[in-house]
């Protein structure tokens, strides 16, 4: 019989007006990797916040047992003392402190308040070796990649004598290679040190790769817990549990909506880095998108996808930009974002929180922002018209919110993403550049977003679909450009390509470059 490490019994947590968790049970055995899956808003993060003491005892009902003892955490310190450490999706590192300083933040190696730097860095090196991070512990966190920052977070957890490691979407901002490294590390920590982990993820292939057992949440309730050894665990079964219905396909059928006319063409587009102006980030890129076509751009992080997209969008990024943009046969010179918007080009950012939405404003104000001229006359806003239009978009994209006055930060990730899409559809673009439009969005909402994209294509809009998820690119696009180190290295049709062939092309190109 395996030993139970953690048991959460009939946890119920209510927010004003919403029951986020309803009688949720969770059992985690010692030394297992336990995955928690569910759509956005299913209650995964809330459950972990109860466990880690973000929501103190008394604000929820139910019982938590850890190592056989009942816990009543009042704050994160309480749970950390027991060895429960949570690593949040948004990393909590201080960019201008070194790796070592970050690792022992709040847990400083000191004697009577004086920090022992030799000990700090020596111990930091030990933990870094454990997680396979090869860096000088004195390097500032801002100077290392996000993948390495994720390793620093894990090392930091180890330094706290972790017994239960909770990882909330640990790979959401990593490319597939780095993501695999993190997962391998979690497996290694379990095998070598017996560290139990709870991993929250949207990526089912990752869960399949590392989890021993899987708990599915839906609408604040436990649907079931699957054991990989006993149950027949398939992606279909997990998805069915998450969305509560059969989902025959993860992608809606793409009807042939491509028209002959080329809507958008870019020739010899070259962009230099915004700060290091001698560094080329986009190198002589040329491509075409036809009306009604969904064209994918696939590339790993740092391949220049976002830089390409943003530089096309009224030079929102980059310096020393050269090249030609041709829309419907006419050459456009776009010197500002407002010009790009006025010429029917929209860019849906990959980072909805930082670059996309006014989180503290209403849905309505977010949607109308790019084209205030559509809801105003001579600079005066027609607030009634604005509300009417926002109402329409709420319905059109089935955004789940009581009304358009709702603040965006009260919405789930999927609904926020839909607001972001609504905003840019409202701006009536002919060319829509979507940068990771389904990042941090659950399976059900992803499917809805894919349907919206197909709908836009069938209206004759040209769509540039940027993603670092190969399955998504292959499932959604009519044609795919593969980008690497600022160059387009390949153009493929999804019917002819596989994940392996595309990855191979990138690896070959990287070798050639070096």
């Amino acid at each position: 019989m395996k030993k139970i490490l953690l048991e959460m019994r009939s946890i119920t947590k209510e927010f004003p007006g919403v029951k986020a968790l309803d009688n949720v049970n969770l059992t985690v055995y010692e030394g297992e990797i336990h995955a928690i899956v569910g759509e956005n808003g299913a209650g995964k993060s809330t459950l972990m916040n109860v466990l880690s003491g973000v929501y103190p005892y008394g604000t929820y009902t139910g019982e938590v047992y850890f190592g056989g003892q009942e816990c009543r955490h009042l704050d994160i310190k309480d749970s950390e003392r027991l060895g429960i450490v949570i690593i949040h999706q948004e990393l909590a590192l201080v960019p201008y402190l070194s790796i070592g300083e970050n690792m022992f933040l709040g847990n400083e190696q000191h004697r009577r308040g004086i920090i022992d730097w030799d000990k700090t860095y020596k111990k930091a090196e030990e933990y870094m070796r454990m997680v396979g991070l090869e860096e000088n512990p004195r390097t500032l966190v801002k100077d290392i990649s996000i993948a390495k920052q994720q390793l620093v977070e894990i090392a930091k957890a180890l330094a706290k004598n972790v017994r239960l490691l909770i990882l909330d979407e640990p790979t959401s901002s990593l490319n597939e290679q780095d993501a695999r490294k993190v997962l391998d590390l979690i497996l290694k920590l379990r095998n070598e040190q017996g560290i139990t982990s709870i991993i929250i993820s949207h990526k089912l292939d990752e869960i399949d790769y590392c989890a021993d057992r899987i708990t599915i949440l839906r609408d604040g309730c436990t649907v079931e817990t699957l054991d990989k050894k006993q149950d027949n665990v398939t992606e279909e079964r997990i998805i069915r549990g998450m969305v509560g219905r059969e989902m025959s396909s993860r992608f809606p059928v793409r009807a042939d909506t491509i028209q002959d006319e080329v809507a958008f063409e870019v020739r010899n587009w070259t962009v230099y880095h915004e700060l290091y102006t001698e560094r080329k980030v986009v190198d002589n890129v040329s491509f075409k998108v036809k009306k009604g076509e969904v064209v994918g751009i696939y590339g790993l992080m740092g391949s220049g996808r976002t830089e390409l997209a943003m530089s096309l969008f009224g030079q929102a990024y980059g310096s020393n930009i050269s090249g030609t943009i041709i829309k419907n046969g006419e050459v456009l010179a776009l010197n500002s974002i407002s010009e790009a918007i006025a010429n029917g080009i929209s860019y849906v950012t990959e980072d909805r929180k930082d670059n996309g939405l006014l989180l503290g404003s209403s849905i309505m104000h977010n949607i109308t922002l790019p084209r205030m001229d559509f809801v105003s006359r001579k600079g005066r806003i027609d607030r009634d018209l604005e509300r009417k239009i926002a109402d329409q978009y709420l319905e059109l994209l089935s955004i789940k919110a009581p009304n358009v006055e709702q603040y965006v930060n009260n919405l789930s990730g999927g609904n926020q993403q839909k607001v972001l899409l609504a905003k840019w559809i409202f701006s009536r673009p002919d060319i829509l550049i979507l940068d990771e439009p389904t990042r941090g969005v659950d399976v059900g909402a992803k499917y809805e977003i894919y349907e919206i994209i197909n709908g836009l294509a069938s209206q004759g809009k040209a769509i540039l679909f940027i993603s670092s998820e190969l399955t998504e690119i292959l499932g959604m696009c009519d044609r795919i450009y593969v980008m690497n180190e600022g160059k387009i290295i390949d153009e493929v049709l999804p019917s002819e390509a596989t994940q392996e062939s595309i990855m191979n092309a990138i690896i070959q190109a990287s070798k050639g470059g070096n």
Binding site: L74, F313, G314, S336, S338, I341, D354, S376
Partner: protein
């Protein structure tokens, strides 16, 4: 939107309005009714007009992202010094001089806005520099001396009262019939605009508020307007500066709530990057906000120098602090994106009435400073606490202590 959300959303503003009424009642009692006597109401307006004008400009700066302007006090002094030099020393035409002073204000704004918006020097630093520069220039221009007095042509705009064209006709026994009629007219125009917009919205099929609620709103606000003008009419009439103030409040209230520029201001304060990627020209907006601030500061400079009837090198000391405090007491967010002109007016009135009330009671100005500081702290603390639920941590700390105590007793009893 249901009323609960409305209240929660505007909690701080309503709170401050309630506080304002509380303070009024408090001082009305403690001063034996002097506070709301016609003469004192008139004084309140004269004393606080320039602070309100500055606070409105400051609000726009704060909305863009918590930026403040430390130089406004010096600009007030500098503009006053220019006016004094033009009119008193050189004997120029006062009307043209006023126009020139406003242009100087705009030029100062262009100077500061350039450094802040385009060179991207933090507003705090750029305006701190401006504060020193313009105070210094004031001293240079005036050679450290005070210029006085101004001719009537300069004073006419912002001092004194509107003249009574009805002479001996005393409607309802008030001293200044024109003022009373002006109040009734204002209330009427307000009601007509509200009713007109109500009807046109209804015609277009939009959801409208309950007609009963609208009626009450019109009645309350209309009565308040008429009461204010009636009180003023019972003294010497409506102060001229009150008209200037009214126009500024209406224009900026409209600008922030109903125009595209206003919306862009809030968007920029809410998330600058997102606003920029939505086509908002954030640099230009920041520039314009500082031009506007200096423009309003030059109006305040003219109003203030006319009230003192002199151009003094020490004028406007720490006015920037009063303006900033009014904004934050009135509900503006220190990080931008939140705040209204109405709230700022309430904030300025709270400060003004505290000053005035305590002065009537003979409390020393040293104590007044302490009280004002504490009020500012309390107002912002209230905001921060209501946003972050800090209360929780406080309480849980107490609870923890209590719990630890009980646990020990539990263990003891089980041992026994």
């Amino acid at each position: 939107m249901d009323w609960k959300t409305t209240i929660r959303k505007n909690l701080r503003q309503y709170m401050m309005l309630i506080v304002l009424f509380g303070i009024i009642i408090f001082f009305q009692i403690l001063t034996n009714g002097i506070l709301l006597k016609p003469m004192n109401v008139s004084n309140l307006i004269f004393q606080n007009a320039y602070v309100v004008i500055l606070a409105v400009g400051m609000l726009l700066c704060i909305l863009t992202g918590g930026n403040i302007d430390l130089s406004v006090g010096s600009v007030v002094a500098f503009v006053g010094a220019c006016a004094g030099t033009f009119i008193i020393t050189w004997g120029w035409n006062p009307h043209i001089s006023i126009l020139l002073c406003l242009l100087i204000g705009i030029a100062i704004g262009i100077w500061q806005g350039f450094w802040i918006a385009y060179v991207k020097i933090p507003a705090f630093i750029a305006t701190l520099a401006g504060m020193l520069v313009f105070r210094g220039l004031t001293l240079i221009i005036l050679r450290g001396l005070t210029l006085a007095p101004f001719p009537q042509g300069y004073l006419a705009y912002s001092t004194g009262y509107i003249s009574d064209i009805f002479g001996d006709v005393h409607l309802f026994g008030v001293r200044n019939t024109t003022s009373l009629l002006l109040g009734i007219l204002t209330a009427l125009v307000y009601c007509i605009i509200e009713i007109y917009s109500y009807r046109s919205r209804k015609k277009k099929g939009y959801t409208v508020e309950n007609p009963f609620a609208l009626g009450i709103k019109l009645l309350v606000i209309g009565a308040a307007i008429i009461w204010l003008f009636y009180t003023l009419a019972n003294y010497r009439g409506v102060p001229r500066v009150f008209i200037i103030l009214g126009i500024i409040l209406i224009v900026y209230s409209y600008l922030t709530s109903s125009t595209v520029v206003g919306r862009h201001l809030y968007a920029m304060g809410g998330n600058e990057k997102a606003a920029r990627l939505s086509g908002v020209k954030t640099d230009r907006l920041l520039f314009l906000v500082y031009v506007n601030m200096a423009f309003l500061a030059s109006i305040a400079g003219i109003v203030f120098s006319a009230r003192l009837n002199s151009a003094s090198p020490q004028a406007g000391q720490s006015f920037e602090m009063d303006a900033i405090a009014a904004c934050f007491i009135g509900g503006a967010s220190t990080t931008g994106g939140i705040g209204t002109v109405g709230g700022t007016l309430v904030g300025a009135l709270i400060m003004g009435i505290l000053n005035n009330g305590m002065s009537i009671m003979g409390i020393s100005s040293n104590v007044q400073q302490v009280v004002k500081g504490l009020v500012l702290l309390a107002a912002v603390a209230f905001d921060v606490i209501s946003k972050q639920n800090i209360r929780f941590t406080f309480l849980s700390k107490f609870r923890r202590k209590k719990r630890e105590g009980t646990e020990i007793t539990l263990q003891e009893s089980s041992n026994a």
